[in-house]
């Protein structure tokens, strides 16, 4: 196993489309819920322990070899608003393109053929991690970290927040990322014996509500 592959996969410059998405930060900034580093940190902590945990567990399960189509259905059931399902599939398709060029693998080809419009992004990322020789916990780390680095980077652009402060927020949340990644990997491990229901389904009502509202904004900087 090459740990360096995790750095490649988790790099914010990995060309899989993430730069155009704010992870809910754009509507939160507009509503005044994010206005500085402290409020960014609270927002990120909430997203990490809800949407981040669910996504990390899906990725860990895919990296562990669970059927990606079952995981894709599980992701649908855990994503109640169409705006976020569409975003997850669009980003999944972009991740698939990058992953197939980076770590070619028949398993990626098979999922791409079965979901030509894109599978949910964490499922694709988990499968890409598996193709790169990474462990389920690695995949969980990549997704958990991405669930907060996306909003933090977007907030730097949206609020002209000091980038040092934004990066410090990510560092403050390191212990939370550790916790969520471990929870996610542990849940993924239980899927073999307990079935898909072992995966977490933590919901964040405001992320769902505001994502669907944001999708209808006529003018916005970020796709989501």
């Amino acid at each position: 196993m090459s740990r360096a592959a995790l750095l490649v996969l988790a790099d914010g410059r990995f060309p899989a489309g993430g730069h155009a998405h704010s992870g809910g930060a754009e509507p939160a900034v507009a509503a005044g819920r994010i206005k500085d580093a402290a409020t960014l940190e609270r927002f990120c902590r909430g997203r990490l322990h809800t949407a981040g945990l669910v996504a990390a567990a899906l990725a860990a399960a895919a990296a562990a070899g669970c059927d990606p189509l079952l995981l894709d259905d599980a992701a649908d059931a855990r994503t109640p608003v169409p705006a976020l399902r569409q975003v997850a599939r669009r980003l999944g398709r972009q991740m698939m393109r990058a992953a197939r060029a980076t770590w070619p693998d028949p398993a990626l080809d098979a999922l791409a053929a079965a979901r030509p419009r894109g599978a949910h992004q964490p499922v694709v990322l988990g499968l890409a991690a598996r193709s790169a020789g990474l462990a389920p916990l690695d995949a969980a780390y990549a997704v958990a970290y991405e669930s907060i680095s996306g909003p933090a980077t977007a907030t730097v652009r949206l609020l002209s927040l000091d980038p040092f402060d934004a990066t410090a927020v990510l560092a403050h949340l390191a212990a939370d990322v550790d916790l969520v990644a471990r929870q996610a990997a542990a849940a993924a491990e239980r899927v073999a014996t307990e079935g898909i229901d072992a995966l977490p389904a933590a919901s964040a009502p405001l992320l769902d509500i505001t994502a669907q509202a944001h999708a209808a904004w006529p003018v916005r900087l970020f796709a989501s």
């Binding site: 155009a20 791409a112 003018v219």
Partner: protein, 236 residues
């Protein structure tokens, strides 16, 4: 049953512009990028190109906007192409990232347009124009996204831009210097601009345009025709 997407699409996923053929073995559409600073007339050039070429070629446009889809909406309002031939890529406030560093969304938009236009039964696309949102002088397109790129500047931006250079000015396959009709009003020396451009670009071509004039886009349209002729006879 899945209600989010009842329609099925062929699996496409070419990695990049490096693959010149479609899955069926035919040569895919030529992809030309248009970049340049804000307000120089990129969208107007795209609109004029569509009007000049749409009767002879099957064309589609991808826009990369800063705010969602403003350029796409302009093209729709101007009705230069039917709506199904225009696609807007959202760039998270960074068009240069979407056309150079992470081209995944643009590649998907291009492929979806090829699929959508093909599905209409109008035959395959000949030409896809990929327009970047107004950015700075360093913004260039990835070779993974486009086959050739046009950089659009204008005389109102000052006659020192060709001299200053930058990747767009020096390396674009075609440099367009637009709004030549304004030269007398802004005190710009067109011959000096041409000399500076030549110094920066060597043999690479430069086109002076005044889009407001009748057939003002013609030098650009002719250049596109020539690129397309080369592309079509390339190896399948």
């Amino acid at each position: 049953m899945h209600l989010d997407h009842k329609d099925t699409f062929p699996e496409r996923y070419t990695y990049s512009a490096a693959a010149p053929v479609r899955p069926d073995g035919t040569r895919r559409a030529l992809r030309i990028g248009l970049g340049g600073p804000v307000g120089t007339g990129k969208t107007a050039t795209v609109a004029a190109l569509c009007r000049a070429l749409r009767d002879e070629l099957s064309i589609a446009v991808v826009t990369n906007d800063i705010y969602t889809r403003e350029d796409a909406e302009f093209l729709l309002r101007e009705a230069v192409l039917p709506p199904e031939r225009i696609s807007a890529v959202e760039t998270g406030a960074c068009p240069h990232t979407a056309i150079r560093d992470d081209i995944s969304a643009n590649l998907e938009a291009v492929e979806d347009l090829e699929a959508a236009v093909g599905a209409e039964g109008n035959g395959p696309l000949d030409l896809v124009l990929v327009e970047s949102g107004g950015d700075n002088l360093t913004a260039t397109f990835s070779k993974g996204l486009v086959d050739a790129q046009i950089f659009v500047i204008d005389v109102a931006g000052g006659d020192d831009i060709p001299r200053k250079g930058g990747p767009g000015v020096t390396s674009a396959d075609l440099l367009v210097i637009n709004k030549t009709d304004l030269a007398p009003y802004v005190g710009v020396d067109l011959e000096g601009m041409a000399r500076d451009a030549k110094a920066q670009r060597g043999e690479l071509p430069v086109a002076f345009t005044a889009l407001k004039a009748e057939n003002g886009v013609r030098p650009v349209a002719d250049w596109v025709r020539a690129r397309l002729a080369e592309w079509t006879v390339g190896p399948a």
